[in-house]
Symmetry: C2
Subunit: 196 residues, 2 copies
Amino acid sequence: MTRGRPIAFSPDEAASAAMQVFWARGYDSASTRDLLEAMRLSRSSLYQAFGNKEQLFLEALRRYRESLIGRLERRLAAAPSAMTFLEGLFRETAGEAGSERAAMGCLIFNSASELGQRGDAPSQHAHRSMAAITALFHRAVVRAQAEGDIAPERDPGALAGYLTMGMAGLRTLLKSGADGEQTRQAVELLLDGLRR
Amino acid sequence: MTRGRPIAFSPDEAASAAMQVFWARGYDSASTRDLLEAMRLSRSSLYQAFGNKEQLFLEALRRYRESLIGRLERRLAAAPSAMTFLEGLFRETAGEAGSERAAMGCLIFNSASELGQRGDAPSQHAHRSMAAITALFHRAVVRAQAEGDIAPERDPGALAGYLTMGMAGLRTLLKSGADGEQTRQAVELLLDGLRR
DNA sequence: TCATTTATGGAACGACCGATACAAAAATGG
DNA sequence: CCATTTTTGTATCGGTCGTTCCATAAATGA
């Protein structure tokens, strides 16, 4: 049983580098040249290891989603209350105004906006990733209700959609270069809507 | 003083057709072939009349913005109250869920998301167009305060940013294929935040 | 009608796109 | 050390991109 020459790169790091490129430039605008340069491998290796550009994007989006959701999940679990988690998340994001981080936005919302209802696999995966964010907000809302910070009679599904809408809008504001004053005020109003 | 051969197309209609293409496909993804076909003119005429793709986009975005703002302005002026205008606008938009119209989104938010902080002219114009939307919401909020539907001590600037954020988020939800139930519920919560 | 001016159609440009083909290089297990 | 397997670098593919150029068509004012 011969094994042959082993690959000289880390598939993990390569996929991570690809994710960064798609995040910064978008799916269509990210050229294979950009990807090759960032991933530091040759064309052959890219197509051999990841199939094609679309599949590479799917893998990058999957990684981004799992990383993001995982991080938020841990942060939610570690938070003293679900409400402080939500407040912290939104306020922190609003505080990114003007930074390079703000200009990049979120790969999931970026993809949802760019790919829209194209119907292909990337578009469907973007949609599912949006749903994953809403599901996370749903869990946070349910916990906040259990903790008495949100009235129990309020519909957690509706509130989760409201929060996803708010985060998507906040990301758009940040991408368009809104200043911190505006984003912070808008986020406070959004959070008021949680408690009301 | 000779004049020469007059152009055989309507610059107005051509620019309008270009706007539709940029709206449906985005700035980068809209190819000159797409544009020529929709505008029904030859390459020479396009470059003669509009300069290049970037300038054509700027003109298309300008038209979209003025048309949109003008339409909203008239609708606001005709509305029995600023609050009913805002309610109608958001509820109507939420009701577009699932339609082709929803998949197209709004050229201004689309452009803001696609072009981000690229720094070039299209990016700057997208940012300014966002500001124009916020300015319109600001006027509506001020009027709603005068009419007693929003408490006078509330900051109209903050509320305007809140509404722009909400509309941007709503547009992202609609583009990602959210169902009408979710968008309608989210919008009601958003509107609750206006009155509170 | 005629000289002039302008628009038009289409060919062509260089650059880049995503993807493939193929030969050379490299590391394996035996 | 060798035969085998796999990766790697590079050349190249057909196609499309935005743009320019030029010959031709068309409508003008005189």
